[in-house]
Symmetry: C2
Subunit: 359 residues, 2 copies
């Protein structure tokens, strides 16, 4: 087990080693390790080597000039200057929150960025200001629209964070697909098949092959097939792509470049700049007095948490499992898989930063 | 077959007969019949008798004072004064679009309303101004969150309309459930079972009983089960509910009152005012020059429409089927089921407005 502070400090040092400022390295490390703390292991320190590879490939600018290139009082486009999405997204959220402070809400579409880590982190930045946070990002194409044989959308997640009064906040953070690609990587490592409804094969048939996406198949949208609403998952992923990519002037659809670790995908010819995000903040008291709203959110949360449940299960509020895991992992530490430890040791050797293996 | 103008005129007369102004009756009829034209028959003239029953039950104010009760430059709460949702929602969209005109975007949460017809109609109002339109509404509880035995959410739809240049607009309009409740009503009429994955029974088990929702069961969220992402559909429905109900001070969750026709549901004790909606508009040129954006939307639409498809199928752009049906039904007319014709004849007799039966 590794203490989160240890992993954060290591990550920080790697980011400064490739040329990030101390401030941005700290921010990026905080975002990255928050994924490990919250149980979204696929988006945490496991990706650190990938970000370094992005840098090696000339796609990552460690000292970006992140700036607003277009704006109105409540909207803006931010250009990330090929910076770490881990840094670009929180800075874009700052712009959105400043606008919300002044005119009630702020909505920022971001171009020229890279993978931004877990969507929920950025949305949650709004909570301490009694704002609702909204975050989305497009991603490299792994997903087939309904009836398509071509992969045209990423897993395109949405995160929405809503403050409550005495209850912990509502934090929904989910991909617009049946499952995240990370679930396939776990099955691949174990040599196990996937449930029907997660992916299709190269001919568009249902498949249990956990390697299907690598061999011409594709991830299925939330809903899995037409009869169960896959066109709705496709519509949702499309909305994320349009708001993140088309509205900002980033790449969109089949042209979104792959994250560095995704070796089996080839980068498309670009139609815009880098990866796109969309972030927003709304002041709760742009609608109602904040205390009234948050008291009603408590009522909402208690009604749902108190629902009668299927035997042996309970009704969960979005954000509950991640928050509970964060409480545990903050104390007990974070377990890392052997390949992740190896990749961190290699980074440590390359940059002269000792990484203590604990397996 | 009935010409849409004939049905619209009849609807208008019914609404004026219960006390609506001519202007509002025309608007309400236009919204209602647009559902029939676009193929969303369950939300069209089939519900006219239901709106009249709302009036008979004292829940509908035919002459509402619809007004902004709270606002910032980019946000507002509109109180619908128990008016027809068919009228309240377009007026709230007007407020959102005025705000977008001035500060880039406008977001309006609506309380004290009723069923607003098809979500897509209201979102599409933004298109002619080169804005992106966003519409959501909560609804009476028919849907079980993941692992819940209690119905806590409505089918809570989302509609997003995005303008393009030469291509027709992108119009996604979908419930946050595996299927809309109307699909069950069709199966009930025909005495047919439902596919697994649409509903659960009173014990939370998968069921093919098309009457399950009436006998203690519930509609399943988009994703159908935990393994295929039902917690994401639940999260989406929850976001719609919070934005529409909690943010406005309307009813939310299990407390949203039933639409008049849903006789098998009992009205909850209220926690707010009426039904809630959430509508928004963003000026495309709040982000990029509108022509650049719309040209890229054409590129997006063509990439998706041109994708390789499963044999005998094609990849559809959200909004395509409804637009194609509207073109056909505008010319050939609209077919009505016998029970709908009967209900319209009865309304005609009651109000002294002849309805010509054509079966």
């Amino acid at each position: 087990m590794y203490q989160s502070e240890y992993l954060k400090h290591f990550t920080e040092q790697v980011f400064t080693a490739i040329g990030c400022s101390q401030e941005e390295a700290t921010l990026a490390a905080t975002v990255l390790i928050s994924a490990d703390l919250r149980g979204v292991d696929s988006h945490g320190i496991a990706r650190l080597a990938g970000y370094v590879r992005l840098y090696d490939n000339g796609r990552l600018n460690p000292a970006p000039q992140i700036k607003v290139v277009y704006e109105t009082p409540s909207t803006a486009v931010v250009d990330g200057d090929r910076g770490l999405g881990l840094v670009v997204a929180p800075k874009a959220m700052e712009v959105a929150m400043e606008k919300a402070d002044k005119v009630g809400s702020g909505w920022v579409s971001v171009r020229n960025s890279n993978h931004f880590g877990i969507a929920g982190y950025h949305a949650m930045l709004a909570l301490e200001k009694d704002m609702i946070g909204w975050t989305m990002t497009n991603a490299a194409p792994l997903v087939v629209p309904t009836f398509s044989l071509d992969k045209l959308l990423g897993t395109n997640p949405i995160a929405v964070a809503v403050p409550a009064m005495q209850e912990p906040p509502f934090v929904a953070d989910f991909a617009s697909t049946a499952v995240a690609y990370g679930k396939f990587e776990i099955l691949q490592r174990k040599g196990l098949p996937a449930p029907i409804g997660w992916a299709q094969d190269a001919e568009g048939n249902p498949t249990t092959d956990s390697n299907a996406v690598k061999s011409g198949g594709g991830l299925l949208p939330l809903g899995t097939d037409r009869e169960h609403g896959s066109h709705k998952g496709y519509g949702l992923g499309a909305i994320v792509d349009i708001f993140s990519g088309v509205l900002s002037g980033a790449n969109f659809g089949p042209w979104v470049p792959p994250f560095a670790t995704a070796g089996f995908m080839t980068a498309g010819q670009g139609v815009g700049l880098g990866t796109g995000h969309f972030v927003g903040a709304m002041r709760v008291d742009g609608f109602r007095p904040a205390d009234e709203f948050k008291t009603d959110m408590d009522k909402w949360i208690r009604a749902f948490r108190g629902a009668r449940a299927v035997e042996g299960k309970q009704v969960i509020i979005p954000g509950d499992p991640e928050r509970e895991l964060e409480a545990i992992r903050s104390v007990e530490g974070i377990g890392l898989l052997e390949p992740v430890v190896r990749s961190l040791s290699e980074l440590g050797k390359r940059f002269g930063i000792p990484f203590e293996e604990q397996l």
